[in-house]
């Protein structure tokens, strides 16, 4: 019986239908058959529903697991590794692989993060896939990059745009699919999966992959936000260069390597010359543009030096302040090498910068400190480079100065003095002395020159030669100058109140170039005149030709504005500097002051002829002349004879405090 499939004894399971009921039975049988069909159909529907439900529950659970992992992951690799494994297991792929996409979106680069669910024979395919690169549009990942959505290849062997075809054939790879990891609309990474069997494209699976792509994108987004934050805290927002914090970190690392027997380091502190003028003249916006341009030139110079030089030294360029940059050289740094780098940086600024329509020259003062065994902390190296820069800055030209201990002492003293100057202004330690200016033919006092003195609590009275150059360098000259102008005018107002009617002596005030070129200088001048009530014609501002060298156009405008107000202006120390005749011609001065050195040397024919030439020239230009440093009657008489209108000097009166200087009889000639 068995074997053929049939069972014996069939008759036992049969029954007989009574006569006459046959039609009814047939009808019932048909109905039964329909019912059975209906039941099968209902079961099939329910079965499909259950399968779909099961699948969607599994996918939701998968998505939930990956989302949870993504939410708790701080790096993409970890989240990706987990997701690749889970997707392979859940969706029955044999191999899952991942790619990162650089910001420009040009390519997909395999990042060696993959999962092999079923190793049998797939190893060569994995080996190729873990380090491959695809350009946009090329291969499976390339297509996902271009299309920004999942791409399915039912049979890679029949796909014309599948680059790993040979190895895929060898390993029996059949189905493949890939989907993008998205941040907004940008593809940041790509996942690809392969199977040795056919896997039919499935809308639900594609939808789940898209969701996974979004969830994993959040990890990338978080990582980027963190990196951006970190970058911001370590970089200067204007130039994008490392900032002081990052510099300190790298410098410390280099220093520690050195102390454990590693190579050395050097620090170059760079301060720009000419930048402040650009900022003052053209505003911060253009100033910022120039800073960016400077940082690019420095970066390019260092970049090509490292590329070409074959030097083992690592260079880090940082912006540490307004117009201050630092280069850290880590490695075996000889003094000559540091000097060479400094020179490269200086040459990078040779070509002038543009500020609006104008050319804006910028140069760099550079201080260098090389790490010596004596240093206990890297901050000391940076500090000494800073001191060397300070020294470099004190010269007339852009200098490079290498730190030495004796230089350190010198600079430290000067810096202490700077600090003292700042404090002295607020402590009102400065006083004005007044030296009379006398009409050489009348012998009568026509006015005074206000001269600043520092009444130092410990050192006594200090001459301006000792502190004015320093105040000019550190910028405190501006506040000191403001005080001088204010105080001289106030004193003059007091003097005028004691003078007989119709006699109003004038006061000459020296204005430093940086003060004269302040954008609000004229406004300040008006305010002082208004507050003190001094007639503008009684105030004479004396500037040196240095101001015109810095910015002749602005000097001309400011001089004209002074003239508009009625304030007179004088060119101080004429004959000592360039003494360019073009300044005399183009700048509207009222007075010219002959420097004391020519007066002192009037015995010599050469000096004499210079003095006479200046006097002739002034006469032709309509300028009144003051001769400084008259110490003898002979000098005074000669100058008067040659037409010099005014004189000043010990013969005519020494500088004295207000109380003494202003005690004079205006009706009685001094001479």
């Amino acid at each position: 019986m068995p074997g053929g499939g049939a069972l014996g004894g069939v008759k036992h399971l049969q029954f007989t239908i009574p006569e006459g009921d046959e039609d009814r039975v047939l009808r019932l049988e048909r109905q039964l058959a329909r019912e059975r069909e209906a039941r099968l159909a209902a079961e099939a529907i329910a079965e499909k529903g259950l399968r779909d439900l099961y699948t969607s529950q599994q996918r939701l659970a998968l998505l939930q697991r990956i989302t949870e992992r993504a939410n708790s992951s701080d790096d993409f690799q970890t989240a990706a590794a987990y997701a690749l494994k889970d997707i392979c297991t859940e969706m029955e792929w044999d191999f899952g692989n991942s790619y990162v996409v650089p910001d420009d979106g040009s390519a997909a680069l395999a990042c060696d993060c993959w999962f092999l669910a079923s190793p049998d024979g797939l190893d060569p395919f994995v080996e190729v896939s873990r380090s491959i690169r695809f350009a946009a549009g090329i291969g499976l990942p390339g297509r996902v990059l271009t299309e920004t959505r999942a791409h399915w290849v039912q049979d890679v062997r029949e796909d014309t745009n599948f680059l790993r075809l040979a190895i895929a054939r060898e390993c029996g790879v059949v189905a493949g699919c890939a989907f993008p990891i998205m941040v907004g609309k940008q593809v940041v990474a790509i996942f690809e999966f392969f199977s040795r069997r056919t896997i039919t494209p499935d809308e639900g699976m594609v939808e789940t992959m898209a969701q996974i792509g979004i969830q994993l994108g959040r990890v990338v987004e978080r990582v980027r936000a963190r990196e951006a934050l970190l970058h911001d805290t370590l970089h200067d927002s204007l130039t994008g260069l490392p900032n002081r914090v990052l510099l300190a970190d790298r410098a410390t690392q280099a220093f520690e390597r050195r102390s454990t027997g590693g190579p050395g380091l050097a620090v170059l502190v760079i301060d720009l010359n000419g930048f402040k003028t650009i900022n003052d003249k053209h505003g911060h916006h253009l100033g910022d543009e120039v800073l960016v341009a400077v940082s690019r030139r420095f970066s390019a110079a260092l970049g090509s030096w490292q590329k070409e030089g074959g030097s083992e030294v690592e260079a880090l360029l940082a912006r540490t302040g307004g117009d201050e940059f630092v280069v850290l050289l880590a490695g075996t740094v000889e003094p000559t090498l540091a000097q060479h780098v400094a020179e490269l940086l200086q040459s990078a600024l040779d070509a002038p910068f543009r500020a609006g329509e104008e050319e804006a020259p910028i140069s760099a003062s550079i201080g260098i400190a090389l790490c010596a065994p004596a240093y206990g902390h890297v901050d000391q190296v940076i500090r000494d480079a800073d001191l060397a820069m300070y020294e470099a800055k004190s010269g007339d030209h852009a200098n490079i100065v290498m730190f030495t201990p004796s230089l350190g002492n010198r600079v430290r003293n000067r810096m202490a003095l700077e600090q003292e100057i700042r404090e002295a202004i607020s402590a009102r330690q400065f006083v004005l002395h007044y030296q009379p200016i006398v009409g050489l033919s009348s012998g009568q006092v026509s006015g005074f020159e206000a001269l600043v003195r520092w009444n130092h609590p410990l050192r006594g009275l200090i001459s301006p030669n000792e502190f004015i150059p320093i105040a000019e360098q550190n910028g405190s000259i501006v506040s000191l100058g403001e005080w001088v102008l204010q105080e001289a005018c106030a004193a003059l107002a007091r003097l005028h109140r004691t003078m007989p009617a119709g006699f109003l002596p004038s006061v000459a005030v020296n204005i430093a170039p940086v003060q004269f070129l302040q954008p609000d200088f004229i406004a300040q001048l008006r305010a002082v005149l208004r507050e003190t009530g001094v007639p503008p014609a009684c105030l004479k501002l004396e500037v040196t030709e240095g101001v015109a060298i810095i910015d002749s156009e602005r000097t001309r405008r400011t001089l004209e504005q002074c003239r508009d107000i009625g304030v007179r202006t004088g060119l101080d120390d004429f004959g000592t500097g360039y003494s360019s005749l073009s300044y005399l011609h183009s700048l509207p001065f009222d007075t010219l002051k002959i420097d004391r050195s020519f007066i002192a040397a009037m015995e010599r024919p050469k000096s004499l002829s210079i003095v006479r030439t200046i006097l002739d020239l002034s006469k032709k230009l309509g300028l009144s002349v003051v001769a400084e440093g008259i110490e003898t009657d002979r000098q005074s008489l000669s100058l008067a004879a040659w037409g010099c209108e005014f004189g000043q000097g010990y013969l005519l009166g020494r500088p004295e405090p207000e109380a003494t200087a202003f005690r004079f009889n205006p009706a009685r000639p001094i001479l």
Binding site: G5, L7, G8, L13, F15, L32, A42, E43
Partner: protein, 179 residues
């Protein structure tokens, strides 16, 4: 027992003995007979039906189970073609039971107690299937293996090396495909 098994049994009986045979068998076995493929029913119903058929046909219960196993395979292939289409041999399909077919069954019947098969190679090259189930239906498995072989047009010989019915802790069936 899953309703699908009872449904397949119904189809097999009707196909072999006609429409009336199944209601008769239900009556003889004294079971409810209301079975849908997605439901679960007492194992006792299957035993009762097999017993009734065995008595009515004066055939051993083992033979009834083997017959059913053989007949069920083409019906299953008809209904779940997807499980068969990836395989070219009976051996390949049988080896996929634990990993592919049973997980699929569990998708439909959460918590379904599917028997786990242990596969090993006998020294003489035969495939040995280890089976362990409180239902002790190794004969049904025997029929399934025969039916599957027929489906793939293969000739098969089975030998029960050990059987739970004889007190062995596990049934072990050696399978040999000719050719």
């Amino acid at each position: 027992m899953k309703g699908i098994i009872l449904n397949l049994l119904e189809e097999a009986v009707i196909a072999e003995f006609g429409d009336a045979a199944w209601p008769n068998l239900i009556d003889l076995a004294g079971v409810s007979g209301v079975y849908t493929s997605l439901g679960s029913y007492p194992d006792e119903d299957v035993y009762a039906l097999v017993r009734a058929a065995s008595e009515a046909l004066t055939t051993s219960q083992e033979e009834i189970l083997r017959w059913f196993g053989r007949r069920a395979i083409p019906l299953l292939a008809d209904r779940y073609g997807v499980f068969f289409e990836h395989h070219r041999t009976a051996r390949s399909l049988i080896l996929s039971l634990n990993e592919i077919i049973h997980p699929e069954v569990r998708k439909l019947y959460s918590g379904a107690g599917c028997p786990h098969f242990q596969f090993s190679d006998h020294a003489d090259g035969r495939l040995v299937i280890g089976y362990q189930s409180p239902r002790k239906m190794c004969q049904l498995m025997h029929g399934f293996v025969e039916g599957t072989s027929t489906y793939f047009a293969e000739t098969v010989e089975l030998e029960h090396l050990a059987c739970m019915q004889d007190g062995s802790p596990q049934c072990r069936v050696a399978v040999h495909w000719a050719g």
